[in-house]
Symmetry: C2
Subunit: 523 residues, 2 copies
């Protein structure tokens, strides 16, 4: 038989909320179920906590990812048992690859009920571990506050981690000790290692052609200026990792390209380098292995050394290196002029040009454009300053939820979601949360009505033109998805653009209007 429920305000669930709030975690993205009802009741007693409902768990975890990338602190999530967690795993995977801090709270059956193997019972630990840097099952109502503080600590330990707390229902409803909530231990990133700085300095003067590969906080505007100063002083080239949680870019900022996604382009981009200096970045690998292609695009004989690990103070390491090489002030060249607005057929280039002209100051771009957006950078170096967030783990369905979270974190900034149609479908429920919270998000759906990336890959494997079965699996044109209806169904105003000028009109108008809006760009 079960324990008695604690008095309202004195339960484990209350301790959970209080501990989150005491540690400055005050946003909870949620999709609750029965086993979380005491948590919901406790949240109802804490008006300082902002609760945001997602109608699917992939929205919840993806939003927590976008939130933390922009707020530089974690959100909590509330997920219902193993299947609810499972639905959130794909975007936890993306968050893990971005080193995003996140505190997932997964409700489970009451501890004494687990041996009965009720229908919803599953092995939550096994599900959580692959996508979490920290997993902890709470052991009692008294354990709730220390366990939560431990999760917040683990989430915020540099560079940040996805953490998962499993909360059995009886510890949520049981009486918790009435003591002050446990404070998380916050550990600053590790300071630059002088030996590594010395080695990088030496490498930069050995005459070999060098690329400095950056990610994480090294892609914030100030750190990029330091990196540019190093490049100016040494002749090294700067490049960002293929996929990055957040880059600060636009007019007046350092112009930096990413390692391209397609394997042949990545090989071409790196072919001339003789050494790589890693600043928080991973040694480059290709996204997928292919017959007759290497697993890394780095040329043979190219050496690599690490200036800083992801858990290090990346801006600090760059500053130390800049000092060592005697770097001056960075030279930021003028951005290439953005071509005139296009008319006629709508395509990747005309879309990018419109972005370049019409992005408002301080916008946040959440990019899951996959094929269409591959070449957007060159037309937006000269756009108004903005942040660019990528889907970092290759798990489909990150874009719209990221936009939800970024908009919650930064209510005064316009969020632009560049979104392929195929991947948008995975978490289309995010549109409803945009409407519910009246988020200032413009979703641009690139409606090519196919899994374009896969049609390319199919060609790549030498399968020839797709036959019936392959077409059936790679084309989305029968029926074509009507994104305007779909968005309206979830309360988001929407319109379709078939021409470059039509798109520019809609986009420019959306940039000047607050609130959610979706543009179906037929390409």
């Amino acid at each position: 038989m079960a324990e008695q429920a604690g008095k309202p305000g004195e339960t484990g669930a209350d301790a959970l909320c209080d501990t989150l709030l005491a540690n400055d975690v005050d946003v909870c993205f949620a999709n609750p179920g029965t086993s979380e009802m005491h948590f919901v009741a406790a949240l109802d007693r804490k008006q300082q906590m902002r609760c945001i409902l997602g109608l699917f768990e992939g929205v919840v975890t993806g939003a927590a990812d976008g939130y933390a990338r922009m707020a530089d602190k974690p959100a909590a999530t509330l997920l219902h048992t193993g299947p609810g967690l499972a639905n959130g795993l794909a975007n936890m995977h993306n968050a893990r690859r971005a080193h995003t801090p996140m505190v997932n709270v997964v409700g489970d059956h009451a501890s004494y009920h687990l041996p009965y193997d009720a229908p919803l019972t599953s092995d939550i630990e096994s599900l959580a571990r692959p996508m979490s840097g920290f997993v902890r099952r709470i052991g009692s109502a008294a354990d709730v506050s220390p366990a939560t503080a431990e999760a917040v600590s683990a989430a915020q330990r540099a560079p940040g981690a996805v953490t998962t707390l499993i909360l059995p229902a009886d510890y949520a409803w049981g009486t918790a000790p009435q003591v002050a909530p446990v404070k998380a231990e916050l550990r600053a990133p590790t300071a630059a290692d002088p030996d590594r700085v010395k080695a990088a300095h030496k490498a930069l003067t050995n005459g070999r052609k060098t690329v400095v590969l950056l990610t994480g906080t090294a892609l914030r505007a100030e750190a990029l200026e330091t990196a540019q100063a190093i490049a100016d002083a040494t002749g090294a080239t700067l490049m960002a990792q293929q996929s990055n949680g957040r880059m600060e870019r636009g007019r007046g900022r350092v112009q930096i390209n990413r390692v391209p996604y397609p394997v042949d382009l990545a090989i071409a981009a790196l072919k001339d380098f003789e050494q790589i200096i890693l600043v928080g970045a991973k040694f480059p690998v290709v996204f997928f292995g292919y017959p007759d292609k290497p697993s890394s695009p780095v040329p043979e004989g190219c050496t690599s050394l690490t200036l800083a690990d992801p858990s290090d103070d990346l801006p600090g390491a760059l500053e130390a290196l800049a000092d060592a090489v005697g770097a001056g002030k960075a030279t930021i060249p003028d951005a290439p002029a953005i071509p005139d607005l296009a008319t006629g057929k709508l395509g990747p280039e005309s879309l990018a040009i419109t972005l370049g002209h019409h992005l408002p100051d301080n916008a946040i771009i959440c990019d899951e454009s996959v094929t269409t957006g591959r070449d957007f950078f060159r037309f937006t170096f000269g756009a108004a300053q903005h942040d660019w967030l990528q889907v970092t783990g290759g798990a489909i369905g990150g874009g719209m939820p990221l936009a939800v979270g970024a908009a919650i974190a930064c209510p005064d900034r316009k969020v632009v979601n560049l979104q392929a149609d195929g991947s948008a479908m995975y978490t289309n429920q995010a549109l409803w949360t945009m409407a519910r919270e009246n988020l200032d998000v413009c979703v641009v759906i690139f409606a090519n009505r196919k899994y374009q990336i896969l049609l390319g890959e199919l060609k790549g494997v030498g399968a020839g033109a797709p036959g019936k079965n392959a077409s059936q699996m790679l084309n989305l044109d029968e029926p074509a998805i009507d994104w305007v209806s779909l968005a309206k169904g979830m309360g988001v105003e929407a319109a379709r653009a078939d021409t470059a000028e039509g798109f520019t009109d809609l986009f420019a108008r959306a940039m000047k209007t607050k609130g959610p809006f979706l543009i179906e760009a037929s390409i």
Copy 2:
């Protein structure tokens, strides 16, 4: 460096398709990615395989569940790496609880590429195990056919299992030995155990009040008649498990109730019984533990014995028991008359009455109606004969995908999906597959615009009326989802009913028209 790709027709991927086809697995629900391109190319060479695209993996696995429940054989699924599998886990969980045979093929990176930890890399085994009865990573191109046959065997071993094969890309593209595909070993269910039959017979004559609890194939029409004959001869009561993969019911068939979902109703339904005989069923447990409520609704002192395990021949065990107790022919009482069609306000009762009157012969009901449909059975005992499929594991989002799969398995039967609005959102992408395949499915959305079940649970935990945060998490009315727009966005014709007579008109018309149709029933 990678292996050379095998010649088209001679790859591991070809061996996979050939082995599936040789073992009568000829439907593949798919959501492919790059690592599966050789599998897609191989499928393209096998026109006997029917490939059905789902725009989200929860649709794919849920459809495979519905298909196998109706076809009595497994479908294959094609999923893309760890995140793709993760998206399909919730409906694999439901399938596991229904003992549904299923062969999931999860593409992974080429084996030599895994150590590079490319962005999409994750621990697929850890993700798969909680929801799979069998997990096997394929070890070479030559291993593809034996591994696949092993998975098909495991899937079809009584009572059926969800199985997961992990297919590294290089074994899909490598050259497989050109030999006949390996045939699966198919094991029949275990025959009835004479000692158990004897014990059950003895129990049925000991004067204690007895309930015979049935599930699985014991709920097919013929087996139910045998069970009814036993009940007639012994005075025992028949009851179905709370949640069941498939029940055959309707006019002229045995009328049997399920153990109710709400804990208090379950306790009330079982309170008078002194012994339980389990026929493939689990000993009853409540769905969730609650403070001050027991984990099982079975009264103290009530004993239980097992006539047959899920892996046994359940109809055979019932027949043996019928012989032992000297049962005659079953008496099937007339079904209670269905009340006259209602007018005015639309609610659970008027909905059920319309179903009772207008279900066509041989319909398949896929039920994820949660709260609204809880009491539908009593008005449909006298409906035309039909199959009733439930979401068996409590994982949300099973209903519409089940309907997709059932419609693929039984193209000549009308499928009716009774669907709560909240749970419909999780896998709304199923509508697109209904349109794409022109499936004969009528989706009835019970639009109460809230998580009704959770509002009830919140009340149950003594939290009082929901405040701001609780309302924010449990109500779906701001904005209200416009299901007609949503369905049209995915190519499914739809209409809204606000009154009982309006619903009856739409439903009756839908029953007479082929193809997908959605009714938003505002309740």
